[in-house]
């Protein structure tokens, strides 16, 4: 109880120091609650955990399953806030706890699984080649180009313009750098990933050690 009071006191002190940002956070909480009511009250397939801070617009569309766990936040960026589109009724998007998503776009046809503490800028996660169904006679229907599940581990940072495309599996604590494209590839833990198509991987531990030495 004492700890809780202390926490509240520190929060109030923070709000007094910077009232404008406190108002911002309050408005974001209110907006997030409105989104929770709007999307998940009548739709059993969409589930959003309670403290959801929406600093930007949130768009959830499509017939599939979407679940966002508690403590997440959506920030606005060059694209329209957080956008999640499910393309068919078997599509499933899962986002873990305490993710902060700025301008993230997810287009899901199969399965997108994201661990907790995701941090993104305006990036794209898409697990199929085409959003709209290609014509029967097109090669995009070929067996080798079917949608594949995307999985992203805990505490991953996706920088701006990064595209995570179908079949990519990204490990815990990895940083995906600006503009890199990952397509049908497995990437390990604690790495800095660069290039499009992403070919360069640098271990973050060594980079940090090198930075400290110089």
């Amino acid at each position: 109880m004492n700890g809780f009071l202390k926490q509240m006191a520190s929060l109030v002190a923070k709000a007094c120091r910077d009232p404008l940002s406190a108002i911002d956070v309050g408005a974001a909480l209110a907006r997030g609650t409105w989104y929770i009511l709007r999307y998940s009250l009548f739709n059993k397939r969409i589930r959003i955990g309670f403290p959801f801070r929406a600093f930007g617009p949130v768009t959830l569309k499509g017939p599939g399953y979407i679940s966002i766990e508690k403590g997440c936040g959506a920030y606005s960026n060059m694209f329209d806030g957080l956008t999640i589109v499910t393309l068919n009724d078997r599509a499933r998007v899962t986002i873990g706890k305490k993710s902060r998503m700025g301008g993230l776009t997810i287009r899901c046809a199969n399965n997108v699984r994201i661990g907790g503490k995701l941090l993104t800028s305006a990036s794209l996660i898409q697990d199929s080649i085409m959003v709209n169904p290609p014509r029967q006679r097109s090669f995009a229907n070929a067996a080798s180009l079917r949608p594949l599940p995307v999985s992203i581990g805990n505490n991953v940072w996706l920088c701006g313009q990064a595209s995570i495309l179908r079949g990519s599996r990204i490990g815990n604590d990895t940083v995906v750098s600006v503009g890199s494209i990952t397509h049908d590839k497995k990437i390990g833990e604690n790495l800095l990933v660069m290039g499009g198509p992403s070919s360069t991987t640098l271990p973050i531990d060594k980079l940090m050690a090198w930075e400290k030495r110089s």
Binding site: G62, M130, F139, A140, G196, P197
Partner: protein, 199 residues
């Protein structure tokens, strides 16, 4: 309901172009689901039964075709489906039939020279060097960009987010920035089984 509105909007747009904008020729059966803008005085030809829409889940982006001058030409084939395609055409863009293009930029000029004065237009551009040709049944993913002088063969598939700077042969899959050819699309071509009964 939405389809009917789109059809009506397409008919109205076609009629408007027939009356006031003689440089645009549109075949029958155009469907417009979201804002469609054609600007400039170049020649634009659109085939039969085309579909124009924005990308799903995005409120801002729409399909637009801008032509730079009166000599520029755009030709889009039959049954093309364009989702939030942005085109800026100075010379020529030819798109085949049955294509599916999503949220893609197609630009056939560099706009400015790379020298210090940034002179516009760039001195070394001409029609043969800069024209863009896209074949039949091509699929192009979201957020990709085609630069000048690129030609894409029939049945090619281009992954989302790729920047295409070189030509891509028919029946290949390309991905990346700059786009690299990942390999041929394996498996039996799905359309050959169905092509006998199909129109």
């Amino acid at each position: 309901m939405r389809d009917m509105l789109a059809r009506l909007r397409g008919e109205l747009f076609t009629a408007w172009c027939r009356l006031f904008r003689k440089n645009i020729r549109i075949g029958p059966g155009l469907r417009i689901y979201k804002r469609f803008s054609i600007r400039g005085s170049g020649t634009v030809g659109i085939g039969k039964n085309c579909l124009v829409d924005g990308i799903i889940g995005d409120r801002r982006q729409y399909c637009c075709i801008d032509t730079g001058n009166a000599d520029s030409r755009v030709r889009i084939g039959d049954n093309a489906r364009l989702f939030a395609v942005k085109m800026w055409v100075k010379f020529s863009v030819v798109i085949g039939s049955d294509v599916l293009i999503e949220e893609c930029g197609i630009i056939d000029t560099d706009f400015h020279s790379i020298d210090r004065l940034r002179t516009s237009p760039p001195p070394l551009e001409h029609f043969e060097k800069c024209r863009i040709i896209i074949g039949d049944r091509v699929c192009i993913g979201a957020r990709s960009v085609m630069t000048k002088g690129v030609s894409i063969g029939d049945d090619a598939v281009i992954s989302p987010g790729s920047i295409i700077t070189r030509s891509i042969p028919a029946r290949f899959f390309a991905c990346g920035n700059p786009a690299k050819i990942s390999g041929p699309i394996d498996g039996p071509p799905p359309y050959q089984e169905k092509i006998e009964g199909a129109p």
